[in-house]
Amino acid sequence: MSHSHNHKLPYDETFQCVQCGYCLPACPTYQTMEKETHSPRGRINLVKMAAEGHLTLDELKEPIDLCLGCRACETACPSGVEYGKILEGARDVLASYQERKTSKPMRFAQKVMFQNVFPDSKKLRLAADAIWMYQRTGLQRVAHKGKLTHILPENLWAFEEVLPKVSSPSERRKRPALFHPPTGMAPRFKVAFFKGCIMDAIFEKINRLSMELLALAGCEVIVIPSQTCCGALHAHAGRRDDTMTLAKQNIEAFEKLDVDFIVNNAGGCGAQLVEYHHLFHGDEEWEDRAKALVAKTRDITQVLGQCELPLNKPIPAVVTYQRSCHMTNVQKVTKEPVDLIRQIPGVTFREMANPNMCCGSAGIYNVIHYEESMEVLDVKMGAVKDTQASVIVTTNPGCLLQMKLGVQREGKANEMRAVHLVELLAEACGLADS
């Protein structure tokens, strides 16, 4: 055990917790793993004990790793404990401790992923090209038929099967950098679009539809190339320095634009963006510049909610909404998505039981902790099935993939589909085929 690491743990923050336990019912992993170790109160206490030297960092690691980071506990806490800060602080310490212990090739792989791939739109584009080739050439069908994909561990082939059809390279490269409202319509807002990293590679179609929807709703949409990944995945992995580098690049990129809002369509990215100023706490220059970006950041539903959408194609279906944790618990955007769903003609909206519970996706949690994630998903799918919905709406790419996987695991692919809210709205506006 290394005390030099332990003393960097967020010790003082743990004292805010009075151990009342009100967070327990809100925590998905407490529900599925059924022990205090995997509850918010338990994890806070473990951080405290590790900081005091009663536990080693190795003993702290698993309970922290297995936290989804959904932060539902924060909304249940009567004492206002900032669990997110404690979690991220612990993750930072564990990451730097682990780095020395991780094998060299693994460390290299992580470095490549976090420093080179996620922030690099070109590399992500190439990855998307490869997936497109794979899907397009029929290789995917062959692979499925021969169960070739099953050579991969379950957690990876499970996701491979639910990946959306990615846009073709030419479609993606032809996307304009400026979208205008329909002719004759006075521009309502001028907005910059935050395209994200994975969102713009794998879910490019949803990004494209988002821009078109915003334009259709009367916004002038600007997509600047100098923006980069939001840094959420880095922050969750305890890579604080990388997160700050990315945040600075985004702040610099967007502050050059004179726009009303900076719009994103991914719950996780939005949550990272609205807390950018926390990264620079005490840094006078960057904290203020971060706050300026935060003040303009909006989820797409907040902007669309203020505009009028031509929802002229009815969608006769029962719809339920899987709330993204980061939209609900961090950005606190809960009303707008539901209002938009309800506006679609033909739609019967039915809320699922315990709607605020995490689906288990949580960044790349579902890949790294596949089994634990599937236990959370199974609870979620039980609630979904009870609504008898045929459409599950999400507002975050991770949740979307997870819910697609949920539909598949339940064997309901013929009667149920999972979509991003943007896709459903686009469909109702005649922008896209279903």
């Binding site: 009075v18 059924e34 170790t37 509850s39 698993e62 309970p63 206002g80």
Partner: protein, 474 residues
């Protein structure tokens, strides 16, 4: 008495009883999770067991009794008095996973529950059939009924409806020797032999493990209304409370917040409360809609007549929730002042509420502690809360003295150490002060004959020789 340690041999025997490794925890990080509750101190268990049924509980207790290993029943550890703390090591028996049974028999007006069922789930199940399970501890969304039974929990509705013990008709209990017994039954009237049900409820896990309970339900009142009254003089607010209680109205809830509370809430989240007022009281009446309407108006008139500066009445659910918001804000508000919260539940006869307030004020000044008072004024159950910082040793020593004096004041005024939180290990040192030597000895004799090896939740209720209140981490 010397206890045995949980060695490899005992672990092997326990594994025979609980073969599922997920329900028998020995990893250090898991044990750490069961070393605390919402009170003070950290005590590590040697093993944590999560039984699923009565047979498993009985087998574990039988083994523990034969091997002389202490056992601590535990719900979800919301306890404020140290109830589930494994102060002597040994086995923590986490009963929160025994949550399979929640039957409502509407025709008999009863519910039959297993101990791990959440209290809020009982509320919900009863309400579905137009009934009500009245005990409503503030922690009901997270606390288990087993924990409520062990600690004899209360809540704001205690004023009109009583506490947990008033709604228990029968129990299934594993005795400290590992036998399964039943007490009471499913009838309201039952006078067969000693009332072991009443003895077991509130015995804090020292006489056995409750594995099933039969609870009485009542018809749910169809309407409710709430008022908020603001007083410039806290003594006047006490008079208003007495006057309402003796006027023929029996409110469902009657809560009070003192000035320090009001200031804390306002600086945390401005709700428009007057920070210069000395107290606010909240009164809720429930029952038949016409009676409710009349009674709330009458209560408002009494408050005004006694000298309330302002009275506000709400009758829709939303308006009522808005008035209760101030009360709900107290906890988050005061922990913003300082992080460590010592929440007491000293209770006095209702006529002594104003006197208790002035004693508390003296204590606050004498020991220079951050003391705020709120609580269930209608039944005399006050919650003097001190906020401090447990890293500050000097401050904590002052707090310890202040708490001791709070208990003294309550007892001198004819009250009691605990209205609803239980004694646990925290208040054990003061038991003799309330019960006297012979009184406490009588209780101890009961304990000794039920549990000759003293394996059931040792260290609770009964003080060790020379035991003092300790609020600092050792």
């Amino acid at each position: 008495m010397a206890y045995s340690k949980v060695d490899q041999g005992i672990l092997a025997s326990l594994r025979q009883i609980i073969p599922d490794p997920k329900r028998l925890l020995t990893d250090k990080q898991d044990l750490a999770g069961y070393s605390y509750d919402a009170s003070f101190g950290t005590y590590w268990p040697e093993v944590v067991i999560q039984p699923k049924n009565t047979e498993e509980v009985a087998a574990v207790i039988k083994l523990a009794n034969a091997q002389k290993i202490p056992v601590y029943p535990r719900g979800q550890s919301t306890s404020l008095s140290g109830g589930p703390l494994p102060v002597e090591g040994g086995i923590v028996l986490d009963l929160s996973k025994m949550n399979h049974k929640l039957e409502v028999h509407a025709d008999d007006l009863i519910a039959i529950v297993s101990p791990g069922v959440l209290t809020a789930a009982i509320h919900e199940a009863a309400e579905k059939v137009g009934l009500m399970y009245p005990p409503d501890p503030s922690s009901s969304a997270v606390s288990t009924i087993g924990g409520n039974l062990a600690e004899n929990s209360g809540g704001p509705l205690g004023l009109k409806y009583g506490v947990t013990k008033d709604y228990v008709l029968g129990l299934e209990v594993v005795t400290p020797e590992g036998e399964v017994i039943r007490t009471g039954g499913r009838t309201v009237k039952n006078v067969t032999g000693y009332d072991l049900t009443k003895l077991l409820v509130g015995s804090e896990g020292t006489l056995g493990v409750i594995t099933e309970a039969t609870l009485q339900l009542i018809p749910k009142p169809p309407a409710a209304a709430t008022l908020l009254a603001i007083f410039d003089d806290i003594v006047k607010s006490g008079e208003a409370i007495s006057k309402v209680l003796t006027s023929g109205i029996l409110p469902a809830k009657m809560e009070i917040m003192d000035q320090a509370c009001i200031i804390a809430v306002e600086s945390y989240e401005p709700l428009g409360l007057p920070v210069d007022a000395e107290a606010i009281i909240l009164i809720e009446v429930d029952g038949h809609p016409r009676a409710v309407e009349e009674e709330i108006r009458e209560a408002a008139e009494i408050c005004e007549r006694i000298g309330a500066r302002q009275v506000q009445i709400a009758s829709t659910a939303a308006e009522r929730a808005n008035l209760w918001k101030a009360r709900k804000m107290v906890s988050p508000a005061i922990t913003r002042v300082k992080p460590t919260k010592i929440s007491e539940d000293a209770t006095v006869p209702r006529s002594q509420i104003p006197a208790m307030f002035s004693r508390l004020k003296q204590i606050r000044e004498k020991y220079q502690v951050n003391l705020v008072v709120f609580g269930h004024a209608g039944d005399g159950n006050l919650h003097p809360n001190i906020v401090a910082d447990k890293r500050d040793k000097e401050e904590m020593q002052r707090v310890e003295k202040a708490v001791e004096e709070i208990f003294q004041a309550a007892i001198e005024l004819g009250g009691t150490l605990s209205g609803e939180h239980g004694i646990g290990n925290m208040k054990a040192p003061f038991m003799e002060m309330e019960l006297g030597t012979a009184g406490l000895d009588m209780m101890k004799r009961i304990k000794d004959s039920w549990d000759p090896n003293n394996i059931m939740n040792p260290g609770k209720i009964f003080p060790k020789p020379g035991q003092k209140l300790n609020l600092t981490e050792e």
